[in-house]
Assembly symmetry: C2
């Protein structure tokens, strides 16, 4: 049997070190180039993807009573892939059976299997890029990164955090208690890890892998069997992942059913049935707070980790680089048409305007300059499509149409010309319109909000994070005291703050091994990628102790 653990031990050690140092580190190149992935990688990935279209997706030995699959590409391409499907009871039975074995597999073996899987998934990043592109509507370069190497990073991060956690204390100890003049009492002690139990990963439409891998890999590393329930519109990336996991599990002599795929179709979802079964000890959920609340109310004693709705913000107080700021914000608002959990929605600006390197700019001038920067960014249709991608869910298009009348239009939403698309809709609010911006408007919709002054802008941006949740916040300000005051406010609101971003780094970006994603300290979720609180509750330690025989 291949010793996957020793094969990948350096990778693991480096990952654990990176977790602590929070410096830039990744073993998985994010550039879709043959230079990193092999000369034929691009063509191989395209070919492998083409071969899946219109076919039965096969997963060896997976429970299957019928076939499902109604994925549609927002790019307009028919997919017509069918997947194995089984009812909740069948899947849970298979998972429980596998649990009896998987929980007793050594941590080294489990972690080795997961590292091997991640490395194999990395080798498939072009294929995965196409798969993610067509179920999420992302443009290929983004789909490659987000669904490939960046997801693999987050998976590796979860494995490393679980491994570090399991090694926080020794597994064997000699305990020698002095007894004064009498001989010491000497006990031998041995600890075993006990998994918490079956885990359910509920995936989302827009980032099936990136949001799915952390819980999936953390649960498996700590000995819990996982049922992966993809969004019915975004099955393929997780189906590919489950398939590779099961292949490596089987090669290692472990039960392939340690990971199972729960597939369904829109309107026929089996998520509620799975949750209501009471079979799960762990649930990882990414999606709306509405369904999140339902999960919380119905999951019994399961430990639940979530990433939910929120209202991300940009606060503009001033800048030394007006053009750089506008270009940076334009990209952040346009990228994947605001469908990232990190996309900004509300833009708070003092109504009297701001000081910049180009002189004083009024509220309207700032709004207009950002609108113009978006127009410039998206003037070439190919490039526009590459940045905005398409709209994953038709409901988002409807939301854009409705939002149109909720403020003064600064920039109309348009189409890129490819697929089901919508470029950013920018609206300015007046005092009497305030209210629409108090809820998440998922998609390419942003509000410019006039504030009394800098303090009011910061208070409102951090206040919405406290109240509605936020994963990201951006601030543009030149005054150090203002920056520190804002850091304090956003800190108390539990939202990570990016200050004065210009150039090629964006508030939307969250780098594994450095940026904790979701703080857990506001309503946008409690699944912090990846801190100890995300991995430690997934297992327990149990001891046997006995007197040492002389």
């Amino acid at each position: 049997m291949t010793d996957f653990f020793h094969r990948h031990q350096k990778l693991l050690d480096d990952a654990v070190s990176a977790l602590k140092s929070r410096q830039f580190w990744t073993p998985f190149p994010e550039i879709p180039s043959g230079r990193f992935y092999g000369e034929t990688a691009r063509e191989d990935g395209q070919r492998d993807f083409d071969r899946l279209i219109g076919q039965s997706f096969e997963i060896a030995d997976h429970p299957e009573s019928h076939r499902v699959g109604l994925e549609e590409s927002p790019w307009g391409m028919p997919l017509q892939i069918t997947y194995p499907a089984a009812d909740a009871t069948t899947l849970i039975d298979a998972s429980q059976k596998a649990q009896k074995v998987w929980g007793d597999v050594s941590p080294e073996m489990r972690v080795g299997i997961l590292l091997e899987t991640l490395v194999r998934l990395n080798g498939m990043s072009f294929l995965m890029g196409h798969a993610v592109m067509h179920v999420t509507g992302q443009a290929f370069p983004m789909a490659f990164q987000a669904g490939g190497p960046h997801s693999q990073d987050r998976g590796l991060e979860a494995v490393a955090a679980a491994w570090a956690e399991m090694n926080m204390t020794v597994r064997d100890a000699l305990w020698e208690k002095p007894q004064g003049k009498h001989p010491s009492i000497i006990m031998e002690k041995r600890w075993k890890f006990l998994p918490r139990g079956l885990a359910l990963t509920i995936g989302c439409n827009t980032f099936p892998n990136w949001n799915g891998y952390p819980g999936l890999f953390a649960s498996l590393a700590t000995g819990n069997c996982v049922i992966v329930k993809p969004h019915p519109a975004a099955i393929l990336p997780l189906a590919l992942t489950v398939k590779v996991l099961r292949e490596v599990l089987a090669e290692a002599g472990s039960p392939a059913d340690a990971v199972l795929l729960a597939t369904d179709e829109p309107g026929q979802e089996i998520t509620r049935e799975l949750v209501l079964s009471g079979a799960f000890s762990l649930i990882d959920y990414t999606g709306s707070s509405v369904f999140g609340n339902w999960v919380r109310a119905n999951a019994g004693a399961a430990q639940i980790f979530t990433e939910e709705s929120g209202v991300n913000s940009i606060t503009i107080i001033g800048t030394d680089d007006f053009k750089g700021m506008c270009d940076n914000i334009a990209f952040s608002l346009s990228l994947y048409s605001g469908q990232m959990c990190t996309s900004p929605q509300n833009i708070y600006i003092p109504r009297a305007g701001i000081e910049t390197d180009q002189g004083k700019k009024s509220f309207d001038e700032v709004a207009a300059a950002i609108a113009r920067a978006i127009d410039d960014l998206l003037c070439d249709p190919d490039h526009a499509s590459g940045v905005c991608g398409t709209i994953a869910n038709p409901a988002t298009l409807a939301r854009v149409a409705i939002a149109h009348s909720s403020g003064r239009v600064i920039r109309e939403s348009g189409e890129t010309g490819k697929g089901r698309s919508a470029t950013p809709l920018l609206l300015a609010l007046d005092a009497d319109e305030v209210g629409v911006e108090q809820e998440e408007c998922f998609g390419p919709i942003s509000y410019f909000i006039p504030c009394i002054d800098a303090a009011d802008a910061i208070a409102r941006a951090s206040g919405i994070a406290t109240k509605k949740g936020a994963i990201t916040a951006a601030l543009y300000a030149s005054d150090k005291a203002v920056i520190e005051a804002a850091a304090e406010s956003f800190g108390h609101a539990g939202v990570n703050l990016s200050v004065n971003l210009t150039g090629n780094i964006y508030v939307n970006q969250s780098a594994a091994f450095s940026d904790f994603h979701v703080t857990g300290a506001n309503p946008s979720g409690n699944a912090c990628l990846t801190d100890s609180a995300f991995v430690a509750p997934r297992f327990r330690r149990v001891m046997v102790r006995w007197p040492k025989v002389a």
Copy 2:
């Protein structure tokens, strides 16, 4: 201002090391001797305690609208101490006000304050011994250990675990992402800890400090203000603790209200009002599962850590030291009259008897020999009182009386002659009586349960742990294969197993820094003292990042 952190840094470093190595370690001597605590420590402690009797217990600047206090010593001594009391709203308001400051105090300062407090509490261990003796009914030597050094160990362990957790990752990092031929993107990042919010510690009657300190110190270390709600029959030890904590807080310039005492009287408890306020983000609870279920149902989104009811067991399959085994079990059953959360209740023995170094022993012979060992242990009234202490709660005496008719009496419960006492009641069950042993019978009540064979005995002992919870299990067996099979079964039941204990080490004992107390993997609780899962969810990290200026 005194630099408590640097004063105690070696203590902290040693504690963190011990957490990982799980070897024997403690800075707090457990022997109540002038050799460790100073020549006059014994007399000073007695005098300090005597001075509290019948007086108003003063806590400087503590909210106070009236006085309460109806503690009674099961040893028969009047206490008549009154404590400051205030309604739930007043306490919560004061705590919320302190929270605004305490959460921003540096981790070093917070941890320094807590270490200084623990060292001062250690110096008061004789006084604390008397306090714990008279509210719990423990004999002095046990009260000294359990309420003094052993509680301080558990408090220190919690501080060390919180400190280790806060240092799992750096607080500042430089993140440099290569850009091929272009200049790297360099970001500066800074993280701050965010406390979860107000914490409530709900104490128990029998081990107010030992069970109270871990949550109290872990919450404070991670920046959460704590309201300590002692059991109305066991206020004094936690009042002393809160008083010292507040003194050190004030000396360090931190808000004394970071820790508050919520006092009440039996029948007038304010626990429900506190929980229902929804003000708490963390609740640490020790007590019955009945009230534990109420807390879970009414605590909203608070993270709850519990130690609850359970049924601990001894399984006797065979022994190479029959006398040593009987003596060891006799002590475990007698110590504090079975009122420890680690006290064994059910004793499973094959009905055909067991093999021993003294030849074959029948089921009845084993039961009789354990009864005799208890008689021998308790034959001297002074010694009996020193081992058994007294009965904390009169309801326990009533439970002993009722239990008397629930099986065949092997040993009658008696009195020690001092205070409200009850020595172990031993009962044997027949097949048709099985049922009473399926619930926790808190106090000096044990059942001998005849089993089909070794496998049945192990299955039943581990089965009750899975079903009803268990914190400890003991096994006596000579056959290595039987021991390994038992380790497997008890391991899956999430209960720590002690094998073949004879001599001066008992299944009841759980040593800080080595034995995790409560695994969290069965219904006896989820507060594992002290693993990462107990400390990590008490705080969050929040980041500010900005481009490095060249």
